[in-house]
Symmetry: C2
Subunit: 103 residues, 2 copies
């Protein structure tokens, strides 16, 4: 199992519209990627590690697939419309990480 | 539900011993935090978003708790030994994010 994580860094003036992300962006992603997308999880940043520290990320979305190949095959035909929707909910520049699930 | 995520940034010369992390560090964390720790997930970085890009993080561990208070109460008495074990598996400086589960 692999996870494609999209992190939205916190920073001066950056914003993230969680309502739009959950109600519009993620349903569109799920509809376009279909059954290859096994699971979606979404987190909102609350805090950093130190007392009073802000969270490094405003939010993160995690897309779970059986394999890297399954992700690439499902995502490639829809990359354009999915990426074009990003400015509708955030001013942050997304950081992308592809990971293998170990536990 | 909240998640305490510990990210280990990728960088020149940084290393991460996944074997030690899974076989020694995480079992120790689970034993110390007890039932308050609802779930643990671990990921190993494979790639970044662009073609041939390295992963931003070598690895990440995610500790799930019912609430921020449950985490703080469980973690505080064991912070010392848990943090003292970090140099045994990585040279990376951990980045900590506390998040609320939205989906």
């Amino acid at each position: 199992m692999i996870i494609v994580s999209v992190f939205y860094p916190n920073g001066p003036g950056s914003h993230f519209d969680m309502d739009y992300y959950l109600r519009s962006h993620m349903p569109m992603v799920q509809q376009r990627l279909g059954a290859a997308l096994r699971r979606v999880t979404v987190e909102q940043g609350l805090a950093g590690g130190g007392s009073g520290e802000p969270p490094p990320f405003l939010a993160a979305g995690h897309l779970h697939f059986d394999s890297l190949e399954a992700f690439q095959k499902a995502f490639a035909p829809h990359a354009g419309p999915i990426l074009a929707d990003v400015p509708n909910y955030t001013s942050a520049q997304p950081v992308i990480q592809i990971s293998e699930v170990k536990l």
